[in-house]
């Protein structure tokens, strides 16, 4: 009976905190340094009884009271003929924004692509990263799925390390039109592999990228009920 009472009280409190049920993550996600720093700074300020504006994130330079680091739920396209297709890597990126409440206002949406150790790229082939918004559903055939119409967002020659892309407008559009959130298409293309000596390096580089690629979407929102927007200046 005591256990049931605790369970009932815990569930009620978690709902109050905005959670449907007690989270039970199977694997712990990596936490970016910036989030750890925000927590540490707030703890230090609270310990010293310093008044904090919890609706402004000075570390990110934006207003907001809720930060989500959304995990990517996309999938890899399998291409057995890397050198023929000129694709080193093709991946669908998908971020579920359904937890973002209607009243929350986006102030930041930043895609982070961690390509892993930069040592892959020093001796490898010339690569180019391309990011597009998928605008039509995937066509599922016998082989690999193909995205419908896409809108090219950005192209990065010789990508390496961690790349960040501003997706504020895209995320806002997805939130307003959830049925249009079909994700992104990430492609890493081989620009020039005519030198046959590079083929082995190409295979290694692409395999390394597949192993180490980690994508996440950092979303900051502001709840106007908890954080009042600054008054507009009079003309």
């Amino acid at each position: 009976a005591l256990g049931q009472t605790f369970q009932f009280q815990e569930d009620a409190f978690l709902r109050f905190l905005g959670l449907d049920k007690t989270p039970s993550p199977l694997k712990l996600q990596p936490v970016p340094y910036i989030l750890k720093k925000i927590v540490q700074d707030r703890e230090a300020a609270a310990a010293n009884e310093v008044t904090q504006d919890l609706c402004y994130l000075k570390e990110l330079g934006v207003r907001g009271n809720l930060i989500r680091l959304l995990a990517d739920h996309g999938f890899y396209f399998y291409s057995p003929k890397i050198s023929q297709d000129k694709f080193c890597l093709q991946k669908a990126l998908y971020f579920n924004l359904s937890a973002v409440h209607e009243k929350e206002q986006f102030t930041m949406a930043q895609l982070g692509l961690d390509l892993g150790p930069s040592s892959y790229f020093h001796l490898g082939p010339d690569l180019e990263l391309s990011l597009s918004v998928v605008q039509e559903p995937y066509r599922w055939g016998r082989s690999t799925p193909k995205p419908g119409r896409i809108l090219a967002l950005q192209s990065v020659p010789r990508p390496q390390g961690t790349l960040r892309f501003n997706l504020l407008d895209v995320a806002q559009h997805w939130k307003n039109n959830p049925q249009k959130n079909l994700g992104l298409l990430l492609e890493i293309l081989v620009k020039d592999d005519r030198d046959s000596g590079l083929h082995v390096a190409l295979e290694d580089t692409c395999a390394g990228l597949r192993r180490s690629l980690h994508a996440s979407l950092l979303v900051v929102t502001l709840d106007p009920q908890q954080c009042h927007l600054p008054p507009r200046q009079r003309r």
Partner: protein, 113 residues
């Protein structure tokens, strides 16, 4: 400011008590990344009429204490938080998302009647 420590004779009077919440005790350490716990505190103690004015009391507590002296069936004024502050929590949800949000009214800073 230093927390005033009540003298032995005043220990039963309304004041803030220290309470550290370890998330491990609740089993929440499996999904809360930081902090590991926090000093939540709690309020406890008597609110006698004679000291209602000196115990950070509301006017209502004063009136209730007054009524209690007239009619003992009316309960005494109670010791409650009068100032609370938020904490920030970093946790992971069931969709593998990492979330940082602050929650209002999680720490008792001051108590009163």
């Amino acid at each position: 400011a230093a927390i005033p420590v009540p003298s032995p004779s005043c220990r039963s009077l309304c004041h803030r008590h220290q309470l550290f919440i370890h998330f491990r005790d609740l089993g929440w350490h499996k999904w809360i990344i930081a902090p590991k716990g926090f000093m939540a505190n709690y309020c406890h103690g008597d609110c006698p009429f004679s000291l209602t004015t000196s115990l950070n009391s509301s006017s209502y507590a004063f009136m209730q204490a007054l009524m209690h002296t007239v009619d003992p069936q009316v309960p005494q004024a109670v010791c409650i938080p009068t100032k609370l502050s938020p904490i920030s929590m970093l946790y992971q949800d069931n969709d593998d998302n990492v979330i940082l949000r602050h929650y209002e009214d999680m720490v008792v800073d001051e108590c009163g009647c």
